[in-house]
């Protein structure tokens, strides 16, 4: 589950919905007024901990962590445009050998909040630190590529040989194989600098040394984090952060419904606050009646792909024909209602694996039918596959903490129309993950899941979910889909450096995988957020389906 452990967002609860306006994506009224420099921005978070330790963080490049830490590369995202990789501390990287060796050059005159210069050695130290067992839990896409299987971090006195720092400004990564998306990987949290030799303590997250516009002023566990200006941050050397407010206060452990009520009421400090959690269907229904509040709800145009995974290694779903029947048997319309009340609130019906807003995505539908599905066609396909009487006793596991019961029941009812009988088994998050991601021999036939890529590349959409290497062992290939041809295509696309060319390859893989029907795409889940009337420039770009914290400011 992407986003599950992201710090700024809490997926527990509704999976994300939108206000009624389906595609009228535009910054809200308040956002249209240009925010000024200064003021105190408040972020109301449901989460109890905000992890400012880059090694432990899974935060997106444009949310909380980005306020304090810069990374080697950054994201530029805007409404109506696919997200782009742009320079942050360094440039966007150059490769001379087709994507196996990547060299980044840092900008001149960068400083940490303590005044010491930021060097390539600090970036290297930060990456190395993410290998230490004490600092686990973050995004680790770089680990395998840097060949660090036996590396246990820099605190045991060893360096990671695959990273070289010939001078204070240059850093070179020698990968185990060509990887075109490395500049994107360099935008993940572990590529934030940590002053060389520092950060051995477990509570580094509470006083992390900043490179971004803000530093941690106070950190009260579970209650509040106050960020104040980092005097050594130079805005002219940072193109992804506006750094408008003087202070940012993150209030932790806030009840989502209370947050929604407070922001709707829009009084006092709440005017300059926004909620970090998704606005639930119940809250949205409530906000409909309040014109002011309604105008302050910002809804993403698209979002994570919700899908029904079919266990391709277990009979009878090891038969592609049977799996294709599921494409027609599901009722995407009922799923939309179950997840958010209406189709417009829930998000568009999905037909591709690559999510909207990702460069190179191609829209297609291999299994066209009505939104309600086509049970007759499903039955016919099942009959062709030798199951004229349908299927019985399939087990659908789901993660209880994601509020998926209603959705699973909607799927159950839809499949029953095509004589597919399903039993629902709900597990707690850990147990679910143990079964779907770690078990060598799981017993489920179906499972519901959703995925948002961790960086804006089709690669992050497809490889984690469909490469053979991601089956079990902690990977997210929960349909346990294994196709040597697809594996080869994935590796080929991953090693393509040219983005346009790679995009075409990924789109072809998308189609190729769906021909085998390992999953049934359901919807691209919309997320809605509400903000106070003085919060300006609050927008959700095409990707990711979260507001860009780095650009938000306070209007006077």
């Amino acid at each position: 589950m992407p986003g599950k452990k992201l710090l700024a967002v809490v997926l527990i609860g509704a999976l994300g919905v939108s206000a009624c306006g389906a595609n009228d994506q535009k910054p809200s009224d308040a956002a249209a007024a240009k925010p000024d420099k200064g003021g105190t921005l408040r972020i109301l978070s449901e989460s109890r901990t905000i992890n400012f330790d880059p090694a432990k963080s899974q935060s997106l490049a444009i949310t909380t962590l980005g306020l304090v830490h810069r990374r080697l590369t950054g994201w530029q995202n805007a409404v109506g445009q696919p997200a782009k990789v742009v320079p942050d501390l360094g440039d966007t990287g150059k490769t001379t050998d087709g994507g196996k060796t990547w060299t980044f050059v840092l900008q001149e005159g960068l400083k940490f909040s303590d005044g010491t210069p930021i060097t390539s050695a600090d970036v290297k130290w930060g990456v190395e630190r993410s290998f230490a067992p004490a600092f686990g839990g973050g995004l680790g896409y770089h680990k395998d590529l840097l060949g660090g299987a036996d590396y246990k971090g820099p605190f045991e006195g060893k360096e990671l040989d695959s990273i070289e720092t010939p001078d204070a400004k240059t850093i070179t990564f020698k990968l185990t194989r060509p990887y075109g998306d490395w500049p994107w990987i360099a935008s993940t949290p572990a590529f934030a600098p940590v002053p060389k030799g520092k950060g051995a303590e477990a509570d580094y997250q509470e006083h992390a040394i900043a490179s971004g516009p803000y530093q941690i002023a106070t950190y009260s566990k579970g209650v509040e984090v106050k960020l104040s200006r980092n005097p050594n941050w130079d805005g002219s050397k940072d193109q992804v952060r506006a750094g408008l407010p003087d202070d940012v206060v993150i209030q932790l452990g806030q009840d989502a419904s209370v947050v929604s009520q407070r922001l709707a009421a829009d009084s006092g400090d709440d005017q300059s606050a926004f909620g970090a959690s998704f606005t639930s269907p119940a809250q949205l229904a409530q906000l409909q009646a309040n014109a002011s509040a309604k105008s302050r709800v910002v809804t993403s145009k698209s979002g994570a792909i919700a899908y029904l995974a079919l266990n391709t290694q277990k009979a009878p779903l090891n038969n592609p024909k049977v799996r294709q029947a599921f494409q027609y048997a599901v009722n995407k319309s009922a799923y939309q209602i179950a997840s958010a009340g209406t189709a417009a609130l829930a998000g568009d019906a999905a037909t591709t694996l690559i999510t909207q807003g990702i460069e190179g995505r191609e829209q297609f539908d291999l299994y066209p039918s009505k939104p309600e599905g086509d049970p007759e066609k499903a039955k016919a396909l099942l009959a062709e596959a030798g199951f004229a009487n349908g299927l019985d006793g399939l087990s659908l596991v789901l993660n209880k903490s994601n509020n998926q019961t209603e959705k699973a029941e909607a799927i159950q009812a839809a499949l029953a129309r095509a004589n597919i009988k399903v039993n629902i088994r709900s597990l707690e998050a850990d147990a679910f993950e143990t079964e779907t991601n770690l078990s060598d021999n799981p017993t489920y036939d179906l499972t519901l899941s959703s995925w948002q890529p961790d960086f804006p590349s089709a690669n992050a959409n497809i490889q984690p979910l469909f490469a053979t290497s991601e089956i079990g062992k902690g990977g997210y290939n929960i349909s346990r889909y294994s196709n040597p041809e697809v594996d080869r295509l994935i590796e080929e696309a991953q090693s393509t450096v040219d983005a346009t060319e790679a995009g075409k390859k990924w789109a072809a893989i998308d189609k190729r995988i769906l021909e085998d029907s390992p999953v049934v795409p359901l919807i691209y889940t919309r997320n809605s957020f509400i903000h106070g009337s003085k919060v300006g420039n609050f927008f959700i770009a095409d990707f990711p389906a979260y507001p860009n914290y780095l650009q938000v400011g306070i209007t006077k």
């Binding site: 419904s257 119940a282 209602i337 179950a338 209603e406 029941e409």
Partner: protein
């Protein structure tokens, strides 16, 4: 000597119901909701819905809220429907009564049964048995049982019948308070002549318990039971409210109330009906129990 007390229980109930209007009202409430629970299927069949079927047509297409006013209350849906799912709320409440009664009554049975046996054993046999039991009761009273139940509810696999788990757990943790009262009763009864006589005549402890002690315990036991049913029902609802009670889609008042929190300002009916039902049952049992206690106060029973 023991018979008059035994006979006095139904008599006391009759007199309570005749004199005490609150107790009567409570009894009527309990009986009505009890009947509703028993005939849940019939009632929902009359209404024409079940608590499980989704119905998107009963929802407002713009918000997912029930279509129509006050939660969509209509001739079609007597209590309206659930937001987002369109499931019939009357069916959910009525079947929820079944869940509540089943768990509340059986858990009370478990805890009272256990408490009486253990308490009587402690009081009558005395010695090390008494010490062990008294000490265990202290342990259990010192146990943060709600915390533990929450923990247990969260870890027991979904395959295990949830109602059974709740009955056993809620019932089991209820024994010490009953046992304490029963023990105290038995300690005084033990010194009474009819018990002494039975003992001298060579009756076994089990015989004494059945023929001499139990008939004298009915009064206080009945009061305790009546007064502890609402607690047990409330506990089931509280656990479901916290998300560790009966599993969906089995209807439960506590879970409906919990789900209704988020909707309360736009769809108060969703909170109103299950909340009212839960309140009515707890109130009914409490009113009845209070009346019974006034008539069958444990102290007055033993003094008699």
């Amino acid at each position: 000597m023991s018979t008059p007390v035994a006979r006095s229980v139904p008599a006391a109930i009759r007199s309570v119901l005749a004199r005490d209007r609150w107790a009567l009202a409570g009894t009527v409430t309990v009986v009505v909701i009890g009947l509703v629970a028993i005939f849940a299927n019939v009632l929902t069949a009359i209404e024409g819905h079940d608590p499980y079927t989704y119905d998107a047509t009963a929802l407002d297409p713009n918000t997912g809220l029930p279509a129509g006013s006050f939660g969509g209350v209509s001739a079609e849906h007597w209590f309206g429907v659930e937001p987002l799912t369109g499931r019939d709320l009357f069916a959910i409440v009525v079947h929820g009564a079944r869940t509540s009664f089943l768990i509340g009554l059986l858990a009370t049975l478990v805890s009272i049964g256990l408490g009486v046996l253990v308490g009587a054993a402690a009081g009558y046999l005395g010695g090390w048995i008494d010490r062990v039991i008294t000490w265990s009761a202290d342990v259990f009273l010192g146990f943060p049982y709600l915390v533990f139940m929450i923990a247990l509810g969260a870890v027991v696999p979904a395959e295990f019948p949830r109602a059974l788990l709740l009955i056993v757990v809620i019932g089991f943790f209820g024994w010490p308070s009953t046992a304490r009262i029963v023990r105290a009763q038995v300690l005084t009864l033990k010194e009474r002549n009819f018990v002494k006589a039975a003992r001298v005549l060579g009756a076994s402890p089990w015989q004494v318990f059945r023929t001499e002690l139990l008939p004298n315990l009915w009064g206080p036991v009945l009061v305790m039971a009546t007064l502890s049913v609402p607690g047990k029902i409330g506990l089931e609802a509280a656990l479901s409210f916290l998300g560790v009670g009966v599993l969906p889609p089995t209807p439960s008042w506590g879970r409906s109330i919990s789900a209704a929190i988020d909707w309360v300002s736009v769809d108060p009916a969703y909170l109103f009906f299950p909340g009212l039902a839960l309140f009515a049952v707890t109130w009914g049992f409490n009113a009845l129990g209070d009346g019974l206690r006034d008539a069958l106060d444990p102290r007055s029973v033993t003094r008699r």
